[in-house]
Amino acid sequence: ERGSKSFNFAAYHTLETIYQWMDSLVADHPSLVTKLQIGSSYENRPMYVLKFSTGGDNRPAIWIDAGIHAREWVSQATGVWTANKIATDYGRDTSLTSLLNKMDVFLMIVTNPDGYVFTHTSNRMWRKTRSRLPGTTCRGVDPNRNWDAGFGGPGASRNPCSDSYHGPSPHSEVEVDNVVNFVQSHGNFKSFISIHAYSQLLMYPYGYSCNDVPDAPELDSVGRSAVKALSTLFGTSYKVGSICKIIYQASGGSIDWSYNLGIKYSFAFELRDTGRYGFLLPANQIVPTASETWLALKNIMEYVRDHPY
């Protein structure tokens, strides 16, 4: 399973297996894919980003992350499938090839490695990081409430025992800080896409405020086009809108931070499912989920490629 050609994409895998598979992907596509370590997690696990690049210096780029919430396993599994798809379709799919000839794609498959390992070993329903805080026995921070975007506002908890605890300060979680530092130091990201799972939504900023962002009409139109493409495969129904308006007010989220940093095309996906399985989506739905998501991702990436700013 650890070689990229024999890997079973229709199964959930441990962090160790995913990391070993990443090495095999790099080995099989050395002129396209590199693995970058952007830091380490609270429990000192490496945090890797796959860089898909055909060359050039600091090209405009697209950021995609998965698995910031540990228990949303179809998100990480979709990240694995997507990485393989990008690597194998380059040179075959004209549109993707033209995209990669202009831009780089950075894909982080497991954004919360400590939490992911914990879901495999101790608590399948774990969502947060695993950091410790003085004064409480409860562990972890919701890493999608920890960004410096309306931090500590509505839709985040101040209670360290809550699953939506925002943490002691913005970017207190090293996992968040590593991504922040990487994205800021790169300085040329044009799109920032975060992949979650549950309830089938495609969202754009803001979450911390219910006011429209200046680019809301354009983001709404891009989002609708993306979910239209997604639904052509299996007819899966998605809702599109700002986080605040279609799910709930949630402060300190990643795409609000990226948008405020100037990355206009900031989106967050909530992949399948409708709730019959919750975060326990059967493994035989990984590939269908990833396949339909790819159509939406590609649609967004093509738009970003064709609308430089």
Binding site: N8, A11, Y12, T121, S122, N123, R124, M125, G155, N159, C161, D163, Y198, S199, I247, Y248, Q249, G275, R276, Y277, G278, F279, L280, P282, A283
Partner: protein, 94 residues
Amino acid sequence: RQLFVGDQVLRVAVETEEQLRLLASLEEDEILQLDFWLHPVSSDLPVDIRVPFASLQTVKVFLESNDIPYTVMIKDVQDLLDEEEAEMEADSVR
């Protein structure tokens, strides 16, 4: 390892602002240890809650006594986890 035997996921169909307020008060009750998968924010959206077995009776009585409609979306979280684990073991053997 934490077990989820008997835990259920309830989908609550909120109809009024008052029901939203009542559900929000449940969310703040730490003793119940509820895990909100979709939070109570709008009467247009369902609320999904994983309820630990120990809190099931309390929560269901609370919902029923306040005329808040709900359905059981996942009957036993551990059953699903066991299925998932068996599937992963089968994959591993294969």
